[in-house]
């Protein structure tokens, strides 16, 4: 038992932090927001320059075969900058194919995912109908579905690999409140889907990766909200004092930190429990997703309030965090659902 990062993990975290601060700048993110929500420059540098897109993928498929703790370090760093990159979908698909793909599917897709040659994402809807391997229906709210070339689509029970180039597939992109991660709708009318070898394993692995990714992003985002707010509170003077010297202000900042430190424990507990195949990994995942999303939302809301009027402007980055936080709250099931799942573990189903 040693719940501290190894030197290697600290190095990865530091590298990732530096990378996203240097690359996913406000300027670049806003440029992406004004178009399709995809900061290609940062993503390419991440996949090819830094070589971190295949972090969780096995070495024989071109990845680094590292674990969820290391992945969480990366996602946390991406969240700190609200980077407009398809990390969530890419990781869910990589994990789904690694866990549930046939050997052909693995050799075909994993090297491309690891190298960042294609952008992938995942979506699910009970409305998806399968006639053999022909899929029909509408799946909405797919993160970065507007730019993805490869999809894993699921109806809850089964999962298929679908290529963007397939016939009878169209993609609609509604305006998304969080412009750093647009949510797209796929319309399928008899589209060819390739069934995964083991759908259950694929779905489970995809969800696990997604929950860790969102929880870690939320942690990074919440910490950034606090750091930026504290820095502002030391500069801004009212009533002849830095506003950070007022208790009403300080106590709110302290409350942010109290939640953030718990969120940090949640993310790395969950990541480590998944890596170790621990009995309480499910509890940890639901706890981390629910808690971190709430923490981020609270911190982002407080960031706006504690900045006053400037925090409400388009020019200030506070709204990027606020909108990302709201998006994380509902993505891959909301906090009430995750807590009810935990309640069922403790109390059984409600009568």
């Amino acid at each position: 038992m040693d719940f501290a990062f190894t030197d290697e993990q600290l190095m990865i975290a530091e590298t990732a932090r530096g990378f996203f601060v240097d690359n996913a700048t406000s300027q670049r993110t806003r440029k992406a927001m004004a178009s399709d929500g995809f900061d290609r420059e940062t993503w390419q540098a991440f996949c090819q320059g830094l070589g971190l897109s295949g972090l969780l993928i096995a070495e024989k498929f071109g990845g680094s075969n590292l674990g969820m703790v290391e992945f969480a370090n990366i996602a946390e760093a991406a969240g700190t900058q609200v980077a407009a990159v398809p990390l969530l979908g890419q990781t869910m698909v990589g994990q789904a194919i690694s866990a549930g793909g046939t050997s052909e599917q693995k050799s075909q897709w994993l090297p491309k995912l690891a190298g960042g040659e294609i952008v992938a994402t995942a979506g699910a809807s009970a409305d998806l109908k399968a006639n053999g391997n022909k899929l029909s229906g509408k799946i909405s709210l797919i993160p970065h579905g507007n730019v993805a070339e490869l999809f894993i689509l699921s109806n809850g029970g089964n999962a298929w690999i679908v290529e963007r180039s397939a016939n009878s597939l169209s993609v609609e992109t509604p305006t998304t409140m969080d412009q750093t991660r647009p949510l797209a709708t796929l319309v399928l009318d008899g589209v060819h889907g390739e069934p995964l070898g083991d759908s259950d394993a694929a779905i489970q692995a995809g969800k696990t990766a997604g929950w860790i990714c969102l929880a870690a992003e939320a942690l990074g985002g919440a910490q950034a909200c606090l750091d930026r707010t504290v820095a502002y509170s030391k500069e801004r003077v009212q009533f002849g004092r830095a506003i950070g010297s007022f208790q009403a202000y300080k106590h709110r900042a302290a409350d942010m930190m109290i939640e953030i430190e718990q969120a940090r424990s949640a993310v790395y507990w969950a990541a480590c429990a998944v890596d170790e195949g621990s009995d309480n990994a499910h509890l940890a995942l639901h706890a981390a997703k629910a808690f971190c999303a709430d923490t981020f939302f609270k911190c982002a809301g407080d960031m706006i309030q504690l900045h006053g009027g400037i925090g409400f402007t388009w020019e200030h980055d506070a709204h990027l965090f606020f909108k990302r936080a709201r998006s994380i709250q509902t993505m891959l099931l909301d906090g009430n659902w995750h807590r009810e799942t935990i309640a069922t573990m403790l109390l059984g189903e409600a009568a």
Binding site: D2, V230, K234, S245, K250, A287, F291, R339, L347, G348
Partner: protein
């Protein structure tokens, strides 16, 4: 980063569990499950001695002072098994968690020899005299005085909220030893035996009917010259060092006590049907999440040997657990419903859950109120500007 325990550590866990369960089913079955700090105090002093006789009292301490030099993982395991076996809290917790580590860190070799083995052996029960009627949150404004007179320190003044003073053998206090000083300067950390004519103790009845806290009056009380920790005038530094020990391994044992309380709430909710209420279900899940995050937070603090990386985070722990437990008390009553407000017990004695509800109102006050904790977090961890003082 690793959360699992090794095979040797799991064997150690089995050894702890076997011994503790054996005691709770055998010789000490009469104290099993006691949840207040005051009940059956004499038997619990015997329990302290039993722990010591089998080297289970202070396993993290060096072997030469009565410990086992146990690893962090072993201390974690022992704390968990201790609570899991339903063993009541340590009546000498102030001795083993605060006085002992303070002497170990700041004491002379002679003081270590004189005090540590007896603390570990449960022969010297300690209590803490910090707060005063006019020095609560503003601890540095203590008025209790100490003056040197023919080789001894003579102490006059009053302390309050002295937990367990009525069953203790020794007390440590901070007192003003330099006339005319204010605030943290001019304070001295003294230890003195309680059984002396100059010390009088009066119990304070609390909202739950219990009297764990006391007022302690000093009227020309004597502290031998060699019972000072540190030099005269260094009291504030020692006191602040001591407060840092409260974030130690003991927090994990405390959490296992919380686990038992939450389990009792879950059982009550299942029994009376409130487990079907969606809002109660959400709150129970939140409590479960919060309890786990305390555990992993504590493990994170303890695992980082480079404390500078987690010192700020450690400051968030007290308000976190206190608030969690106060919420737990409210949840307990909401699960019990109106029937939680009556008891068939004679006198004003409450079962675990109603008592939790009442007692937990103290959690967010003692050891630094939630508001003081927020000041500490903001000023020390976040580096925000200090609140200007009113008296300077």
């Amino acid at each position: 980063m690793k959360l699992g325990f090794s095979k040797a550590e799991e064997e150690f866990r089995a050894e702890c569990a076997q011994w503790l369960n054996g005691q709770m089913m055998g010789e000490f079955s009469d104290i099993k499950g006691i949840s207040t700090l005051t009940e059956k105090a004499e038997r619990r002093k015997e329990w302290e001695q039993q722990l010591a006789a089998h080297k289970w009292s202070c396993i993290g301490w060096p072997v030469e002072w009565g410990g086992r030099g146990a690893s962090l993982a072993e201390q974690v395991i022992f704390a968990e098994e201790y609570a899991r076996a339903g063993v009541p809290g340590r009546v000498n917790h102030i001795g083993i968690e605060l006085a002992g580590p303070t002497i170990l860190t700041f004491g002379t070799d002679e003081q270590k020899r004189r005090f540590l083995p007896d603390i570990a052996a449960g022969k010297t029960i300690f209590c803490q005299g910090f707060s005063e009627p006019n020095a609560g949150s503003d601890l540095a404004s203590v008025r209790t005085r100490a003056r040197l007179e023919s080789g001894n320190w003579i102490v006059n003044g009053q302390k309050i909220w002295t937990s367990l003073a009525h069953i203790s053998d020794w007390i440590f206090v901070i007192a003003r030893s330099e006339e005319g000083t204010k605030g943290p300067r001019g304070l001295t950390f003294l230890m003195m035996p309680i059984d002396q004519p100059g010390i009088e103790i009066r119990g304070i009845k609390q909202i739950n009917g219990d009297a764990e806290f006391n007022e302690t009056f000093f009227t020309d009380a004597t502290c031998a010259k060699d019972s000072l920790i540190g030099a005269p005038g260094e009291g504030w530094k020692i006191a602040m060092g001591l407060l840092a020990f409260e974030r130690g391994v003991s927090t994990l044992g405390q959490q296992m006590g919380f686990r038992n309380e939450l389990d009792e709430i879950i059982a009550a909710a299942k029994a009376n049907g409130s487990a079907n209420d969606p809002l109660i279900r959400q709150r129970i899940a939140k409590a479960e999440i919060g309890l786990n995050l305390m555990r992993y937070g504590a493990l994170r603090m303890l695992s980082n040997s480079d404390h500078s990386k987690v010192d700020g985070a450690a400051l968030t722990y007290k308000i976190q657990w206190a608030t969690w437990r106060r919420n737990l008390g409210e949840l307990a009553m909401d699960v019990l419903g109106q029937s939680g407000e009556v008891t068939d017990n004679p006198g004003y004695e409450w079962g675990t859950l109603p008592n939790l509800f009442l007692y937990s109102r103290a959690d967010t006050i003692y050891g630094g109120t939630n508001q003081i904790q927020r000041n500490l977090i903001a000023e020390r961890a976040l580096g925000m500007p200090r609140e200007p003082r009113g008296d300077t």
